[in-house]
């Protein structure tokens, strides 16, 4: 396998983009990534998208988006792994370049979720779980994470206030991110008094329904300096699956797929959790960030809540997590999220994150999780 570098990144504003279609936002992010590195051609593209079919009634996105990007007839592949579709697109693009099959490859992610109402979007999102044995009974995605939260609180004594602190921290970071859907701060009191969605989770524990797209351009690491003086190498890739039905798991407070994908990525990169300077993890709900920190080995199992409370995961803390604002504040257009995380880590490793810059960040990690943990993809990136 050849070493692979990310040479260009691009992202759209996340939010309710009523004036823009799925194809508009994808092309906007892809052109930004292409302009960011100045490549003259793309040889192949991978698009992460969770459910164009249920959210906008559009499938066959590979061809549609290659055409609107002006690059047809290049091969274009749409990939899906629920909310981990974006990172899956990056993994497949990585393999395409690493194998020597292609040189310049674009990996993007896109989701357009606000053309339908919240009830329909909730129905669509439930397709990421087990339709016949979870959604059939009426459980929603906030409901699944509420079950995880309740059990985590029961087993480890995690508190309602600790969950709220995840949202407060991520909004504090997101307030400094011009692309964030909700770029403002919230207080613990606001989180604790927000509308209950699925006990014990409240509105401000949940990531929003969003439109958005993000793209990156990859090339062989040996060619990276032709296009940018700040390339970032992909040094670790981990990808694992688990049951998609939450009830089928022995223990719902640990994501086995996160543990496994993390192990694979750390091994390939030759690094340990303590070597990671900055991480973007999948905080679709506040409890998910706590579980991810534990399962990736940043803290011991059960100590995630305490670590957040002590400020270890703030931008100036020991292990800064979600400096972008995370899914919570930045927004969660599901198929775009995995790539958006990579865009943030690359921006951090290039030292271009402005007010939310983590000092001396050299090695970064992204953790993108699908459904309630049925798919997890971890990437480790290093500035070169």
């Amino acid at each position: 396998m050849r070493d692979v570098a990310i040479i260009g990144v691009g992202i759209t504003k996340f939010g309710e983009l009523w004036g823009k279609s799925l194809r508009d936002i994808f092309v906007e992010s892809a052109l930004r990534a292409i302009d960011n590195c100045g490549v003259k051609k793309i040889e192949a593209m991978y698009v992460g998208n969770f459910s164009g079919g249920l959210f906008v009634g559009q499938e066959h996105l590979g061809s549609l988006l290659a055409d609107y990007l002006g690059y047809a007839p290049i091969p274009a592949i749409r990939v899906e792994a629920a909310c981990a579709a974006g990172a899956l697109a990056l993994k497949q693009a990585f393999l395409d370049v690493a194998s020597g099959f292609s040189d310049i490859v674009l990996a993007g992610g896109v989701e357009k979720m606000t053309d339908i109402d919240t009830g329909e979007a909730t129905y669509g999102l439930a397709a990421a779980g087990d339709r016949e044995y979870e959604a059939f009974q009426g459980v929603t995605f906030p409901g699944l994470y509420a079950l995880i939260a309740r059990r985590h609180m029961y087993e480890y004594g995690t508190t309602r206030e600790q969950l709220a602190k995840v949202a407060v921290k991520n909004h504090k970071n997101g307030a400094k991110n011009p692309y964030a859907q909700f770029p403002f701060e919230v207080t613990i009191e606001q989180v604790l008094n927000s509308t209950v969605i699925a006990d014990p989770l409240r509105l401000l524990d949940c990531s929003p329904i969003s439109d958005g797209a993000a793209s990156v351009v990859l090339c062989p690491a040996e060619r990276a300096k032709e296009f940018t003086n700040k390339p970032v190498k992909i040094i670790g890739v981990g990808h694992a699956t688990d049951t998609i039905a939450l009830a089928d798991r022995e223990n719902i407070t640990t994501s086995k797929a996160t543990v496994e994908a993390g192990k694979q990525a750390y091994k390939m990169a030759g690094v340990r959790p303590e070597d990671i300077d900055v991480a973007e993890v999948h905080d679709c709900f506040t409890i998910a960030e706590i579980c991810a920190m534990e399962d990736l080995g940043f803290v011991k199992k059960g100590e995630g809540g305490k670590a957040v409370e002590e400020g270890l995961t703030e931008i100036g803390g020991k292990i800064p997590i979600n400096p972008s604002g995370g899914l919570k504040s930045k927004g969660h257009p599901v198929g775009a999220t995995g790539i958006a995380q990579v865009v943030e880590v690359v921006t951090q490793l290039r030292g271009e994150a402005g007010e939310r810059q983590v000092r001396n960040a050299k090695i970064g990690l992204t953790h993108n999780l699908g459904g309630s943990g049925g798919s997890v993809i971890v990437h480790i990136l290093e500035a070169i």
Partner: protein, 135 residues
């Protein structure tokens, strides 16, 4: 729109939803609900049909207050992961209860109930929900 309730699929799921039919690996003993063709634990394909026990306890629970479109008339309602007495876990609504009586460990039993319907003129899907066991 693809809805959760359709005739063929509702008919197909009857053995599990009405009768709790599962299967048990004859090699390692792992139980699957719904039944599977290969054991994820030992890779055996030799299974025996079994029925799940109807009683168990709450492993975790929540109250759904923002439901998906097809459950909006039922909101708010309780959903739990139930750990049955043979160790199998499943997702089920908990009904006919005061939400304040729900706790991890509370004893419940599965009952046969209406789950959802396909609009005002479509078919009705039945299945299991659970109620609290009065001590």
């Amino acid at each position: 729109m693809v809805t959760a309730v359709k005739v063929s699929k509702t008919w197909r799921e009857i053995p599990q939803r009405y009768r709790l039919e599962a299967n048990k690996c004859n090699n390692c003993g792992k139980i699957f609900f719904p039944p599977r063709l290969i054991c994820s634990n030992c890779k055996s394909r030799d299974f025996a049909p079994i029925k799940l026990p109807k009683e168990g306890k709450i492993y975790s629970f929540t109250i759904i207050r923002t439901p998906s479109s097809e459950f909006k008339d039922y909101s708010p309602f309780a959903i739990a992961i139930i750990e049955l007495d043979n160790g199998v876990k499943l997702m089920s609504q908990v009904v006919d209860c005061d939400f304040n009586d729900l706790e991890i460990g509370t004893r419940v039993k599965l009952v046969f109930r209406k789950i959802q319907e396909d609009g005002s003129s479509g078919i009705i899907a039945y299945g299991y929900k659970c109620v609290l066991v009065k001590s």
